[in-house]
């Protein structure tokens, strides 16, 4: 789960991580009031969407940049008016962009130095690690690749937590001295407390800045929360912004289905995450493009399977569906019943290939066979993938052929009409005895 920048700033304030003062605004008027209340000389207005690259993005109304500075509250209002309700396209949003519903009005910091700070879970050591770099404000992966000596890693003991001496060590590694190193160490410890208390999987501050006044502040933040731990953080769940998410994924999550929309045209419905990924891979291997990842889990009900079908079919790109079930916990007869329920409701507008194996596979296959539905059955994973790719390609080819035929018929008719018109015109011209030579009949 992700959160907005203004929400991150609220968490910072709660845990004592120093950051510039700011206010969220949902209307241009509120943005102006927020600027007046901040009362600082220079103000930054930032479009609130979950994607990065906002500063370099462009709104579909032509307005450039999702981050702007202003000096007067009226200016802030004008900037907010150009952002709120508009769609911002950045390198992370894809061409469709994201609609901006809110802006964050924040005091501008006079930056003397940009640094980088992050805490994340290191899988290799199964412990949190603090990462710091003097190369702030840049793409940290590029820094790690090109100048790895500028990245400092401080592993944290999972039971002891981050110790003050470690925070001081990190502050020194960031090249900070005197009161600044004290401020930075305090900030790092506060950030660690936030990381643990909120069950984060990543907290990244880029940039962490030293201002010209000498303060150490978190200027921008990225949070990832551990989805498995959200049940014990209702206050974090409340920050979820559904408008930032794919509506199909939101719908899927209501039914406890694991769905991720992709760009292809062959949908798949699978039990188990590994098999679901492998099914996507084999569709691609057989020459198709997967339209989604969908894991119905180990104990799906008939209703969940039916809901999964409806979500799949809400994607208009989908031209075929492959169901691949290897029942361990999941019983194949339940999948079969879910398929029937869904087919009856949706009329199944696209071809469907079903492969059932494992628990109650025979009963499941019989249910589908006896239903008399136009379901193509498959004996193995590769058989299923090959069949759905073939049938979707065939349909596309038939469609293309039909379209070509129709186009041809139109062209033939047009040509015929043109020939007839020309003949008629020629005849008409010929019948005009006074027509001067070399003048073309008007009909041509």
């Amino acid at each position: 789960m992700n959160i907005h920048e203004y929400q991150a700033r609220d968490l910072f304030e709660k845990f004592g991580v120093a950051s510039p003062r700011g206010k969220m605004a949902g209307t241009p008027r509120d943005a102006e009031i927020a600027a007046q209340e901040l009362g600082t000389e220079k103000i930054v207005v930032k479009a609130q969407i979950h994607a990065g690259g906002r500063g370099k993005g462009t709104f579909t109304n032509g307005f450039k940049g999702g981050v702007h500075t202003a000096t007067k509250p009226e200016e802030v209002r004008e900037l907010a008016a150009k952002m709120i309700g508009q769609t911002l396209v950045t390198h992370q949003t894809g061409p469709a962009g994201r609609e901006v519903h809110k802006v964050y009005v924040v005091e501008a910091a006079e930056i003397a130095k940009e640094l980088y700070l992050a805490i994340l879970l290191d899988r290799a050591t199964a412990a949190p690690v603090v990462i710091a770099s003097t190369q702030g404000g840049m793409d940290i992966e590029a820094v790690a690749a090109q100048t790895p000596e500028r990245i400092f890693r401080e592993p944290v003991h999972p039971l002891l937590g981050l110790q003050p001496y470690q925070a001081r060590k990190l502050a020194l590694a960031l090249g900070l001295h005197g009161p600044q190193s004290t401020q930075a160490a305090k900030l790092i410890l506060a950030l660690y407390k936030l990381f643990i208390s909120c069950d984060c999987s990543l907290v990244e501050i880029n940039p962490l800045v030293v201002t010209k006044a000498g303060d150490v502040l978190a200027l921008d933040a990225k949070f990832n929360f551990d989805d498995n731990a959200l049940y014990r953080h209702p206050e974090i769940v409340a920050l979820r912004d559904f408008t930032e998410e794919d509506p199909r994924e939101v719908e899927a999550s209501k039914y406890c289905l694991n769905y991720i929309g992709l760009d292809g045209n062959i949908a798949c419905l699978v039990n188990g995450a590994g098999l679901a990924m492998a099914t996507m891979d084999i569709i691609k291997h057989c020459g198709g493009e997967p339209a989604n990842f969908l894991d119905v889990g180990g104990s799906a009900t008939k209703e969940q399977v039916a809901a999964a079908f409806k979500i799949i079919l809400s994607d208009k790109k989908v031209k075929g569906i492959l169901v691949n079930i290897f029942g361990g916990i999941m019983r194949c007869d339940i999948i079969a019943e879910g398929i029937l329920a869904a087919v009856q409701e949706t009329q199944l507008p696209v071809p469907l290939v079903v492969r059932l194996e494992g628990s109650n596979a025979d009963i499941g296959k019989k249910i589908i066979r006896d239903s008399g539905l136009a379901v193509i059955s498959a004996d193995s994973l590769v058989d299923g993938a090959a069949k759905i790719v073939a049938v979707v390609k065939e349909a596309a080819a038939t469609e293309a052929a039909a379209a070509a035929e129709a186009a041809m018929a139109v062209a033939v008719a047009a040509a015929k009409a043109a020939t007839e018109a020309a003949a008629a015109a020629a005849q008409a011209a010929a019948s005009l005895p006074l027509k001067s030579k070399g003048t073309q009949p008007a009909a041509l």
């Binding site: 992966e141 989805d227 039990n271 188990g272 995450a273 590994g274 990842f293 029942g327």
Partner: protein, 301 residues
């Protein structure tokens, strides 16, 4: 002698009275597995399905029944506590089936387990199967949620992060007449008890295992570590498959651990590591067994 468990292993089940736990306890009993105790706090003294005594604590259950292995089926908020209880009771092996445990809980459990004699497998895993000699491999040790009939006693070791993909590999082996020594599902979470490498080392030392299938997926670097070890040390033919070649970066593919982030954990990097280690790579998940069979022939083993 397979790895980790044998058909004689005595197993207790934590969470035996829950819907999920009771169903799979019954399936294991039907398979012929020695499920000797159940543990549900507050339900000590009851009997599960008229055969399995239920205890309030793991320590009691182990003492009374001689169970040395536990399978955990309790809901995520209580799973970490259940693992620690089993460790405290001194069991040899704890297999945690529960899916959805907070990562921070597992980080603490793993740190707390350091130095203990207990091995943890999982969480978020399908468990272990050591096939028996009866019809449909009946009489073996099935701990977890895998279907029993797909297994067949033999000499291929299977290790995987994914449940259903494991069944796929096992079924392919069985239908081609190749049995398994032990099948181990290590689970799809980013922090787990036993790694691919741990299991590969055991298979390498196990005289009953003659060849290995290793199934991985995107995320982390555990497959690469196992491959590096195999390159230098493994004496047996290994075939492998990596799921998630088509997964977009930055999206969690169901498993908490299956995510390509920061350019790390890609399928391409893992497949390259496999090839470099002399592991035969299955191009698709439907040729895992065939790839191993061809590899064995090529090596003349």
């Amino acid at each position: 002698m397979a790895i980790l468990v044998t058909p004689e292993t005595r197993v207790l089940i934590q969470g035996i009275t829950g819907g999920f736990g009771s169903r799979h306890a019954q399936l294991s009993l039907d398979y012929g597995t020695k499920i000797v105790a159940g543990v549900t706090p507050g339900k000590g003294g009851q009997i599960f399905e008229r055969v399995v005594p239920i205890f309030d604590t793991v320590a009691q259950a182990a003492k009374e029944t001689g169970a040395t292995v536990s399978a955990i089926f309790v809901p995520p908020p209580f799973a970490a506590d259940s693992i620690l209880e089993a460790v405290d009771a001194g069991l040899d092996l704890v297999i945690c089936i529960t899916e959805g445990i907070p990562v921070a809980d597992m980080v603490r459990v793993k740190a707390a387990m350091r130095g203990s004699k207990t091995r943890l497998i999982g969480p978020n895993c399908p468990g272990i199967v050591c096939p028996g000699e009866g019809k449909d491999s009946h009489g073996g040790c099935r701990i977890g949620i895998a279907p029993g009939y797909i297994n067949h006693k033999g000499h291929v070791g299977v290790v995987s992060r994914s449940g259903t993909l494991t069944y796929e590999a096992v079924w392919q082996l069985t239908t081609r007449g190749l049995g398994q020594s032990t099948t181990v599902g290590i689970g799809g979470d980013p922090v787990n008890g036993t790694s691919h490498l741990d299991v590969i080392k055991m298979f390498n030392d196990d005289p009953e295992t003659e060849a290995i299938i290793m199934i991985g997926e995107i995320g982390g670097t555990a497959e690469e570590e196992a491959a590096a070890w195999i390159k230098e040390n493994c004496k047996k033919p290994v075939a492998g498959f990596i799921a998630g070649a088509t997964a977009p970066a930055g999206r969690r593919m169901g498993h908490a651990g299956a995510i390509v982030s920061g350019g790390k954990g890609t399928a391409a990097a893992k497949i390259a590591a496999f090839r470099d280690a002399g592991i035969a790579v299955a191009e698709t998940p439907s040729v895992m067994a065939d790839t191993l069979i061809r590899h064995i022939k090529e090596l003349g083993k």
